[in-house]
Symmetry: C2
Subunit: 509 residues, 2 copies
């Protein structure tokens, strides 16, 4: 995903000397930022959101030129990015995220004398965030992982994506200025350029955690590096997902038109370059959707792909799928490469039987990053779960379209399979368009992510950049604010009271 056409404005790869300076500055900024109260940190995040919105026109202009994404899409994405910063500000002000637990000293504790113990979550330290090509705002310099890591109290170093270097520079300048203007220490947000620089920084002992959004190949490489360091660190990579969607006969009968509308829109949006694009749509044999899908796909305007590397990769996957036995074309679509190497695509929709898909899973079941999706024809709803199990590993999402009040063992079995293999289970609707909310889960079993214990979208993401520490029998004056009895920040404190261990395991209650 990192092929690029160098231009005179492409920043040089960050040198080892500069990397050292940047890591040192981040390390120096860490204690001051961690020690900033949640309220003051929230103010700085809101200032960053305001600054992004104030510079919207300029930022979107640069982004359009560098990515080929539409103005409407980029305007929406910048708004989402600003809202996300505000949401994380809102998440930290009340201090709930600190998970403060206080065990009162208890002479009658079930295991003997219990000391006073107070535990909360602290920032892990400088975070390295590898940004994505396909969301130049929302999964890039000021995107979700950056917002979560900053909100948690960590300095952030972003490895800029080569697909939008000027936008990365400008965004970093706008956000860093706003943060520092609101009292954050210098170095709380910094930028580096170049794959090799990213690898060197990931190996730097001063980096405490890594995050990444991109391909399985690059993500695995980086995850392996993080795990193999002399001091291993957590690495949260969001990689590949094919997001299967399943339509029951009842759902098809109730709304074939709406399904065709929604499916084509979800496959074609942003030229299919979304990690939640539905790559497979399972429909009953004899679905009768071909004409409706073809008409809708043919109406989609040509869209530039993000960069020449993605265009090449998409062309190869598309050729390979179109050339596989059993594959029938619903809408051939097109991929045109212009004189700059940029690809321009219209949607390609193909069809295959469930049996042929399983038989050719090595060619067909892998992600195609771009506006292509496979309509899979099945004969029996009871086969859906076992077929999916034979085809797919972990996914970000799985979707089922069911009829009103529909319920059956086959459906429950399918929902069970999706739950085990995905982070988000949708009933109706389409997986693209990921709400940034407290209950969102954007993550899933390998290879959807390198680590499915957390999310990269939504407020729960803050937990990946925190680690617990407990204080035992500490004098009040030496305790951090959230753990003190006078609770100067007013955070929620969950207390285990003396004496309560006497009733543990009393299941008669």
């Amino acid at each position: 995903m990192n092929a690029q056409t160098p231009t005179p404005t492409t920043p040089a790869t960050t040198s080892p000397e500069e990397l050292d300076r940047i890591a040192r500055l981040a390390t120096d900024a860490a204690p001051a930022w961690a020690g900033t109260s949640p309220r003051d940190r929230a103010r700085a995040l809101v200032a960053a959101a305001d600054a992004l919105v104030a510079d919207k026109a300029e930022l979107v202009d640069i982004a359009m030129a560098e990515t080929g994404l539409s103005e409407a899409r980029l305007n929406g994405e910048l708004t989402r990015t600003a809202v996300q910063l505000r949401l994380f500000a809102d998440t930290i002000v009340d201090g709930e995220y600190l998970d403060v637990r206080i065990d009162e000293a208890d002479d009658a504790f079930a295991l003997g004398v219990r000391p006073d113990l107070r535990r909360y979550l602290i920032p892990v330290g400088p975070v390295l965030n590898f940004s994505a090509s396909n969301f130049p705002f929302a999964f890039s310099v000021a995107g979700g992982d950056t917002a979560a890591a900053l909100a948690a109290g960590n300095p952030v170093i972003v490895k800029a994506h080569s697909g939008h270097p000027r936008l990365s520079e400008r965004t970093a300048a706008v956000v860093a200025d706003a943060l520092e203007g609101a009292g954050a220490p210098a170095g709380v947000l910094q930028l580096i350029f170049g794959q090799q620089a990213g690898v060197l920084m990931l190996k730097d002992p001063r980096i405490a955690a890594g995050s990444f959004t991109g391909s399985i190949r690059a993500g695995r490489l980086l995850a392996d590096i993080a795990a193999a360091r002399p001091t291993p660190i957590p690495f949260y990579g969001e990689l590949g997902s094919v997001n299967p969607a399943f339509v029951t006969s009842a759902a098809l009968g109730a709304g074939a038109e709406a399904i065709a509308d929604g499916f084509v829109a979800s496959v074609a949006g942003s030229a299919g370059q979304l990690c939640t694009k539905p790559g497979f749509l399972f429909v009953p044999t004899g679905h009768g959707l071909d004409d409706g899908l073809a008409t809708r796909a043919a109406a989609v305007a040509e869209h530039r792909l993000l960069n020449p590397g993605i265009a090449r990769g998409y062309g190869e996957r598309r050729d390979s799928i179109l050339g596989t036995a059993g594959v029938r074309v619903i809408s051939e679509g097109a991929l045109r490469i212009d004189e700059d190497g940029q690809g321009w695509a219209t949607p390609t929709l193909v069809s295959v039987s469930a049996g042929d898909l399983v038989a050719h899973r090595d060619t067909l079941a892998e992600e195609a990053f771009g506006p292509l999706s496979v309509v899979v024809e099945y004969d029996d709803e009871a086969e859906l779960a076992p077929t999916a199990d034979a085809l797919f590993e972990g996914n970000l999402t799985g979707t089922v379209h069911v009829g009103d009040g529909e319920d059956s063992p086959a459906l429950r079995s399918l929902v069970g399979w999706i739950t085990e293999h995905a982070g988000r289970v949708l009933f109706g609707g389409w997986p693209t368009g990921v709400a940034v909310t407290p209950a969102q889960q954007h993550g899933g079993p390998w290879p959807a992510t390198t680590n499915d214990s957390s999310t990269s979208v939504g407020t729960a993401a803050i937990s990946r950049f925190l680690r617990p520490v407990a204080y035992q029998s500490a004098p009040q004056a030496l305790l951090p604010e959230p753990l003190r009895d006078d609770n100067p920040w007013g955070v929620p404190q969950v207390r285990a009271h003396a004496g309560e261990s006497q009733s543990w395991g009393d299941t008669s209650r």
Copy 2:
């Protein structure tokens, strides 16, 4: 740590065919156990606790013979293990641990229409737990990681430690019978034997997470295997820790006798074979503790070490430390190897200046697993934090003994250093004796653990064996119980209400 004297009763290494059968049984048990209500799962955990207590005499007898640990210690440890199961039962019944979040559908959401989203934590799947030699109950077959993983709803496969194979077999039989008698599916707790069998099982795609307590060498090896699998899995290893303790002049002046008492008891308990043994005690030069420490150490009775391998390793570390320039003997202690290769030790206490310790850190700063500790003489409290920083990586604990009301920049700097490098910061007292409570944190930066985002003691441990999943726009009938509006299990549900996004980031509130 795995050397052993094979005896006729040592179970054979589990064969690959048997491993396959065990993994299949665990996989088959997973859905039923995950689907068991927290209340019923809690009842099964309490039944397991009751069964352990009922068989206490027999289990402790086997443990004494296999480990050389004292009856009093083992009785206490078995009680702790049973209490731990009850505590986890208590942790899950109210369902708070499920972290249920419900976003109401919101047409006025700041980012456009928000669907109904409901997120909670589900069990990760079969867990492989490598048990430890030094806690044959509390960090072994029915120990903390097993209790946490079972409570979370996962089947558990335990790799028995070669130091107490018969105890492992008997404990597994007692606990599995009790669990199954209380309604748990067959295969919810199983046992395997042999290092190579453990490695093979860790590589099995059906294993979803690993945990381990033991040496840095073995833990790193296993963590690397877990990370390098085609499908990487989380691995929670608790490895090495030297647990430095620091005594200020004021604290020494206030209670030299109590410090000498507590320190020697903490170093000598269980022959120093505890992961939280204080390996270094920093005291002001001219502390005058030598005679008191020597007298107390000399009064400690000879104690058998866990197994011949540990005896050999301890002997080598002890010789190396005693032979290092600048090391002065306070109490030489002894290590005697009997005809069976078992080691019998009395405490060894040595002294070194802070400067010599830094100069010889390669020999001296590493963990010595056994009853040996180093008294470090320092001249200036302001040097404590930088000296510690030059010497130590991550630790499970760090302890400071301060005078009443004492406060200084040097002390704050030291507490800051400990917080950054440990999971638990103690003020007074000694790190051995780890309370099993909601606010406990037993974990810390590498090499204390392979992953410091969670704990292996206390109820917060349950989080390491869970992963989030969200349901979007699901019909009530197809939602899991904890996410339903009628909330049949009565779990806490945190709701994001429609309309509330309008005030996000309003820092004037």
